[in-house]
Symmetry: C2
Subunit: 289 residues, 2 copies
């Protein structure tokens, strides 16, 4: 079966909208997200526009700060310091990629970890790693686990999850989340020798490697749950471009128990989980008052 | 074959002694480690005594702060603040376990991450997780990787490592280190369903679960490298007590390519890696001068 990411994301947003209303009524505080975008990359602007729209739709405040491409690293750092110290700002997101003259890791490290709704700060990676409370967890990995549970139910204990890819943004954090769910977890990557064989052991297969249709039907165990994080643009024989995942969806569909489509699978979950993190950051801010 | 942890640790300490001498001669700074021990647990005192001795032997300064069991959490926190701000202190280690009235995680979080030579602070877990420079990595996992390399050579790329156990102190960090070495990594634990089968796939098998002789010969692939982190006290048929690992050494020895003994395997590497971290912390301190 197909796991509908759009529907799952909508359900999550509806749930969050209720929680936001409750939070506002109880604490007289409206959760707020500030998104900073530097330069004029069209894809980034479309993505930020969606974030702003969905943030407002569930009743949170959205602040968008658009900066010219020539913005200096120092300017961005002092802006972040100001936002870090502003109690009315609960979540801060710096849209990536940044222009080349700005050191991304310096910028990420400068965000207050308690407001880092992307979950990329080392403090948040470490809290996730150690299983400490208060971690803001990267959005796409959260979405992957929610989609797996959408099909498998709440208890993933004892299932063997195989993750293809070891990025800081998806592969490694999704592996940690699945470990917390008591899965046995195998992390594979470009140096892995017997990838098809290993994938075939997976009860949950997460593909996050960025290679179009890498995963074939014979890599998939009968009945497995397949979460496809890849978004690859390919040119069809007719010369049109289309988006495909890291999994050959048509082939794998027959074999697996459930699979997320591309587009319409993991993608829609990412912004929904960003909203979830923003509400969590607003809740955490109560403790430091 | 047997992987000799005592010898490997001695070789590492000899190398560190030379590096410490070079560092002192170049920067006129003697690396220093401050160990805090609260209460009078005999095992902890023996362990700290060994740390002090080995620290001094390689030419570093060792400060030992012994506090009574009734020491308050607040007292310990203010002591840590003082040590954090003391430029002559490069490494800080609080010997665990602490008395029950002190919150260990609050204490670990209060250590300056750049002086946290145990590598337990969330910032260090996060730096390790993200592959950021400057991470102080927990000592026992570092020792495991060095022992594996002692047998396998520098390049572990493409080998399949299976880790039994998912603690913050050993299982998870050793998995991250092996991933950085380009191993395919499987993390298993108490909820894992087909543990013997999974272990049998391992080129490198790390057992860090604390169950005496759990791993039997038929769990081990022919020629595998076995790293045994367990230290379990058992009573023999004759009524004597002895230390054994998580692996049935005698059984596994015939099957594997190489194995670390217990005692004399991973154990001696832990303090040697603590000294390595202390020198690294002293080197890092140069950047903040």
């Amino acid at each position: 079966m197909n796991i509908d990411g759009k529907l799952t994301a909508q359900t999550l947003r509806d749930k969050l909208a209720i929680e936001v209303a409750e939070f506002k009524s109880r604490y007289k505080i409206q959760p707020s997200l500030t998104v900073i975008i530097v330069g004029d990359d069209p894809a980034s602007h479309i993505y930020v526009k969606n974030k702003v729209k969905q943030t407002q739709e569930i009743g949170m405040i959205s602040n968008e700060i658009k900066l010219p491409i020539e913005t200096t690293e120092n300017h961005l750092l002092s802006l972040l310091e100001q936002l870090n110290n502003d109690d009315s700002v609960h979540g801060i997101l710096v849209q990536l990629p940044l222009p080349k003259h700005i050191d991304e890791s310096a910028i990420i490290s400068a965000i207050n970890p308690d407001k880092d709704v992307d979950g990329f700060h080392a403090m948040n990676s470490g809290r996730l790693f150690n299983g400490e409370p208060g971690a803001l967890v990267p959005c796409t990995p959260q979405g992957c686990v929610l989609l797996a549970k959408q099909h498998l139910g709440k208890d993933l204990s004892g299932l063997h999850a195989v993750v293809i890819g070891r990025s800081n943004i998806v592969g490694k954090p999704v592996a940690m989340l699945l470990l917390q769910e008591n899965c046995t977890v195998t992390i594979t990557h470009s140096k892995t020798k017997n990838l098809p064989e290993l994938c075939k052991q997976a009860d949950i297969l997460v593909a996050a490697v960025g290679i179009a249709k890498l995963v074939k039907a014979d890599w998939v165990k009968e009945g497995a749950t397949v979460i496809d994080v890849g978004i690859n643009r390919i040119t069809t024989n007719e010369g049109a471009t289309k988006l495909v995942g890291d999994v050959d969806y048509v082939e794998a569909f027959e074999k697996c128990g459930a699979i997320t489509p591309v587009p319409g699978g993991v993608g829609p979950m990412t912004i929904a989980c960003l909203l979830k993190n923003t509400l969590a950051a607003a809740k955490n801010s109560l403790q430091s008052r």
